[in-house]
Amino acid sequence: MNWITNFVRPKIQAVLENKKDTPDNLWHKCSGCGQLLYLKDYLEVQSVCPNCGFHGRIDPKTRFKHLFNKGEHALIDLPKANEDPLKFKDQKKYTDRLKAARAKSESKDAISVAYGQIGNMNAVIAVQNFLFMGGSMGMGVGNGIIAAAEHAVAKKAPLVLFSAAGGARMQEGILSLMQMPRTTVAVEMVKDAGLPYIVVLTDPTTGGVTASYAMLGDVQIAEPNALICFAGPRVIKDTIREELPEGFQRSEYLLDHGMVDMIVHRHEMRDNLIQLLGLLMKQTKAA
């Protein structure tokens, strides 16, 4: 960013805003550098800004497409969860929030699980969807992770989990908290079977999700610049009333503090996982 981009960009925006006939979804403004990108081009590169490398949030469908061989995979049916066990209502009914999230995301809950080939191995990949109620972990997500673990064990395949969540789903109260031990048991099932459990932390991974299955990987990978934490920056700031260090709770900061093994660019994720899983599954390779 320099004075030229700073100076020119607002003008471009002004032009766009005036042209009412321009569809809103034709452009994407990068949250990292503010550059306007053709949405189509942007989606083609898995929502990574070609200008600054900022990793935008993507849905499970896109992940599967770019991770599995030729994008081919089978979605695993997830057991239906006991919906709205508390009959929860804040300013809106929880059931209404669920309906809205389902309409918006075309998925039943904040996780999707798929099985397919990656390199010359089979793998189960579970992906959380931040667009579905902030990826929050309730019984539906818990069931998804358990189903993913069971499938991995049944197929003797590794489990790769992409986390993205604001934390536990408050609307399910204590039952959302109980997903912490439940998902921990799921992870243990995979480990007991001698299979790799790999976690890829994506933006954002916070709260009870980080404090359970998302930090229990045999290998912990993070996407660049993802917010990864237990307590969110605002909560900490309100508690200690101090400025937070630069880059605090971002992937690079966690790597420096020994909390993750590596940071991997989204475009290199597939190759990286193939290499890692091949090593852990002790696949031999000609020298």
Binding site: G173, M178, A231
Partner: protein
């Protein structure tokens, strides 16, 4: 001097009148003993009635009552030969969580729990029961020690939550909590967990993934504090009382949801009014639970504990 909660005002007034009466000298017109007896009867009834129908919000206040028994009180009354063990062997000793070896009814046990402190100085020392990663890593260490020597474990949960601080995050608060829950779930010795005051979120569950999970009658256990929930979902912490109702945080609600196994009764007027009676109730419950669990093999204990959590929330009616 007893600290009265806001909804206990009528009780406080009665008790103050009883005290005044007791200080009076017997005159001719009134029989003091008779009058005191009458007031005490009234007070007892009021106390019983009030505590029989506490709202979730009132329960939070009871659970946070400064004179409620804390970890050190329970250990002093229930455990003999207690030897506190310190440190996570990596960074520090976090005394927001305390633990050690001791005897319960003559048998060796490992006891671990949050300590909130009872006055300003001790509250600061114990960080108000809000643990940092070192507290959870010490927990893992003590759980492994218990398993190594085949000693049952008792955990006493009383925290508003894990500490949200820069250092805590830098040293892996989330990972520490996850490992502590994992250690509880993998344990091959009996683990009995009691929510004695506040069970606040991940910082509580890290110590509470037990074979038996019990709650004191007026304790609370929640995924988020009602204040926090209200400020997120209602966008104002003024709605904390509504959030407390919606979240279902009382022992009675959690028993209905099959999240806990048992409610331990408290003396009339709450645990803070009679520590001794509270201890006796806990002692009885612990005796039964430990003797039942001690009959099971290590593998069985681990399998049953895992199944218990896997099945949680699954058996209720579908909508």
């Amino acid at each position: 001097m007893l600290t009265y909660l806001d909804f206990e005002k009528p009780i406080a007034e009665l008790e103050s009148r009883i005290r005044d009466m007791n200080n009076l000298e017997s005159g001719e017109e009134i029989n003091i003993a008779e009058e005191v007896g009458r007031l005490e009867g009234k007070r007892d009834k009021l106390l019983r009635d009030t505590y029989a129908k506490l709202t979730p919000w009132q329960k939070i206040k009871v659970a946070r009552h400064p004179q409620r028994p804390h970890f050190k009180d329970y250990v002093a009354q229930l455990i003999t030969d207690f030897m506190p063990l310190a440190g996570d062997r990596a960074f520090a000793d976090d005394v927001a969580i305390m633990g050690g070896l001791g005897r319960f009814n003559g048998q060796s046990v490992v006891v671990i729990g949050h300590e909130k402190g009872h006055d300003t100085q001790s509250r600061i020392k114990h960080n108000f029961g809000m643990a940092r990663p070192e507290g959870y890593r010490k927990t893992v260490r003590l759980l492994k020690l218990a398993e190594q020597f085949d000693i049952p474990v008792i955990t006493l949960v009383d925290t508003s939550g894990a500490y949200p601080g820069i250092g805590a995050e830098e040293r892996g608060q989330a990972e520490a909590i996850a490992r502590s829950t994992e250690a509880c779930l993998g344990l091959k010795v009996p683990l009995v967990s009691i929510i004695v005051g506040e069970g606040g979120s991940g910082g509580a569950v890290a110590l509470a993934a037990g074979n038996r999970v019990m709650m004191m009658e007026h304790s609370v256990y929640s995924v988020i504090s009602p204040e926090g929930c209200a400020s997120i979902l209602w966008r104002t912490s003024d709605k904390a009382e509504d959030a407390a109702n919606a979240l279902k945080i009382t022992a009675q609600d959690l028993l209905k949801l099959n999240v806990i196994d048992e409610i331990i009764p408290e003396p009339v007027g709450g645990a803070h009014r009679d520590h001794k009676l509270t201890m006796e109730a806990i002692r009885k419950t612990l005796e039964t639970a430990l003797s039942e669990l001690s009959a099971l093999s290590g593998d069985k204990l681990k399998t049953l504990r895992r199944e218990k959590f896997l099945n949680m929330g699954q058996k209720m009616g579908q909508n």
